[in-house]
Symmetry: C2
Subunit: 396 residues, 2 copies
């Protein structure tokens, strides 16, 4: 039930159509992030109106709460969250390893991953100086940030969870390294990720029907030889598509180099996903290099703090709480046709944020999501018309 057609290209950038059992995705496509089975304050109906084509949820989060068995029992994640379109599920490797790496490197990610009540009845509590995450060749053990309970993920177990959730597209367990890991560790983690990919694919072949696809994830940090090795290794395995994951280096230039090393070694006729980007500038850069799908928490995360996408501003964003918007009767973005821009002023949005009204976040999320959908639509048109450079210049 899966297939990927390439419809047009402008140099390395391409327009395609990815057919899934829950409908087709025209690529390049933005993938909205619904980690816990909800996209911020936005309902499935809103997403449909926004034009969202595909959502990505997270096996790690949904395993911890409410659990894949419960979701399977109530009819799968599509039905659970009322979303009838294509659904990707990430393993949550990034979330698991960012705990360990943050602790090891003291980069402070633990605070954001453990908001508050992390020490109830914990087995591997950070306060007791024990590791949060233990990785071995067969999988990874970690404690729940919710109740301190101990969990173990193996590549096979993650496929099983994703099957129960009813993913259209699933991502296997991978070991994510941080930009602070050295070459030696990054190689070791990559090799482990490769072994895990083989295990996941084997499990997938034995147990998944034709209703689900498994993507391979390329690792290797910002090291050229590792990225090339990983892309070549993954490219030889018969995945339904490929994702570029892990650390993309510490600058936009490094990210572009990683894609330039990686993409030529992946099968041309399979979809390519980039995990976790979403600055407007980045979208142009990665699509230009042949990325078909990218997920991005930015539009919804920004919405929570009143930061809104606009075409005509520095870094394409304004902070709606700024005093300059107090009595601004204009919509957030003059060219946007989203529900928020069609019905409300900047002054009203600012008032809602000032007054801490929940409606604020929803209206902001609708705008940011639609803004990105509208941008990728323009990008697709430009690729078909072989005018992506012109569109890039218009925006940059």
């Amino acid at each position: 039930m899966f297939s990927f057609e390439l419809l047009a290209n402008d140099k390395a950038a391409r327009v395609g159509r990815l057919h899934t059992p829950h409908g087709a995705i025209t690529t390049p496509s933005f993938v909205a992030v619904g980690t816990q089975g909800a996209v911020k304050a936005v309902s499935a109906q809103d997403l449909h109106k926004i034009g969202t084509q595909v959502i990505i949820a997270n096996a790690y989060h949904l395993h911890l709460q409410p659990g894949e068995d419960l979701i399977e029992k109530t009819g799968g994640l599509h039905r659970f969250m009322g979303w009838e379109g294509p659904l990707m599920i990430d393993s949550g490797g990034f979330q698991i390893f960012s705990l360990g790496a943050a602790k090891e490197h003291g980069v402070g990610k633990i605070a954001s991953i453990f908001p508050g009540e992390h020490d109830r009845g914990g087995h591997l509590s950070p306060k007791k100086g024990k590791p949060l995450v233990r990785v071995d060749d067969d999988g990874v053990e970690f404690i729940s940030y919710l109740d301190g309970s101990r969990h173990r993920f193996t590549p096979e177990r993650v496929v099983e969870i994703e099957q129960k959730l009813g993913a259209d597209i699933m991502l296997p367990l991978d070991e994510c390294t941080s930009p602070l890991h050295d070459y030696r560790y990054t190689r070791r983690a990559m090799e482990r990720t490769h072994r895990w990919a083989t295990c996941a694919l084997e499990k997938f072949r034995c147990t998944s029907g034709r209703n689900q696809a498994l993507f391979g994830i390329v690792q290797g940090g910002a090291y050229r030889d590792l990225r090339e090795e990983s892309a070549a290794f993954m490219g030889k395995l018969d995945f339904g598509g490929y994702a570029v994951g892990g650390s993309l280096g510490s600058s936009k230039e490094e990210m572009c180099r990683v894609l330039e090393w990686t993409i030529p070694l992946l099968p041309h006729h399979k979809p390519r996903h980039l995990l976790g980007i979403g600055e407007i500038e980045d979208i142009f850069q990665v699509v230009k290099r042949g990325i078909d799908l990218f997920d991005c928490v930015l539009p919804t995360r920004m919405a929570g703090t009143g930061t809104l996408f606009v075409k005509e501003a520095k870094r394409f964003r304004v902070h709606i709480l700024n005093a300059q918007f107090t009595d601004d009767p204009r919509p957030i973005d003059e060219g946007c046709r989203c529900y928020t821009c069609c019905n409300y002023s900047r002054a009203y949005l600012r008032h809602l944020f000032m007054a801490k009204e929940l409606l604020a976040v929803r209206l902001a999320a609708i705008h940011n999501l639609r803004f990105l959908e509208s941008l990728v639509r323009q990008i697709r048109t430009a690729i078909r018309e072989r005018s992506l450079s012109a569109l890039t210049r218009e925006w940059m």
Copy 2:
């Protein structure tokens, strides 16, 4: 542009139609509370689908933030909040006086009215032991809970604010007494409210066109002679309708008695509003006694904590976070046709609340609001069919 037709009755209960410049309201009608120009996480479009007929906002809150001049400048509150239907605006007398009364009686309302940052640059800070609210015969002075700035409301000023906001139906400044005020004070406050009503009506006549209506508010606490005096006084003034305000006593029986004393003295052919009720049981009680409109923060406030209306439960509500709903595949209420009940299970709602997803509150608010709309629709039908007693027995 205002008129009120009585269409049917079942004893004292009645069905009517209140025509306003922004459309007609079929009564009895629930009035959704949008204090700060937003009904929780629910958009104007959601409200339209829910069947909400009329919203009540608050002059006190909107005066403090973002200010009536700003709203007037951007086209009035209807346009500001994207709501095209009838709009009531309460003076906020209740909010102002609950500050003073809470302090005086030590009943702890200050905490809920002053959430957190109330002491920045305050002139009349409670910490300095000065009064928060000073009432005199001409009006009331109070400090902003937002920035400690000093404000003065007079009956004329409140009409002016409500005119600027563009209310269809406005409520004049009144002095709200608490159930703990004695007879002597309640009488004094009532007399002041009567004088203010006369001033407000005079101001309204001189400055409002036929696009706005002013309702008179009956005060008098739980004292029979005061309520009768107040109803008779207000009933003689040519208001567009009447509201019953202030303390309705400390039990449901007292509330019913207050209505029984009051309503027969109000003009039969004018609409009657009851300020601030909304338990399911109360709705039956007050409609039965001839109330046409009632506003109620309960459905949206309950939504914030995961408390949901259902027909078959104690006090018509369930707390969705209870463990019993963990894997419950049913909709919140089997008979409800709201967006939430048509698309989501109790298990999903519970998960959203557990996971602190903002979507939870919106879906809960949609359900609770629609549940009440559906109830008042049933009540209207029952009145037309002279079967309100049977409907009441079915529910109670």
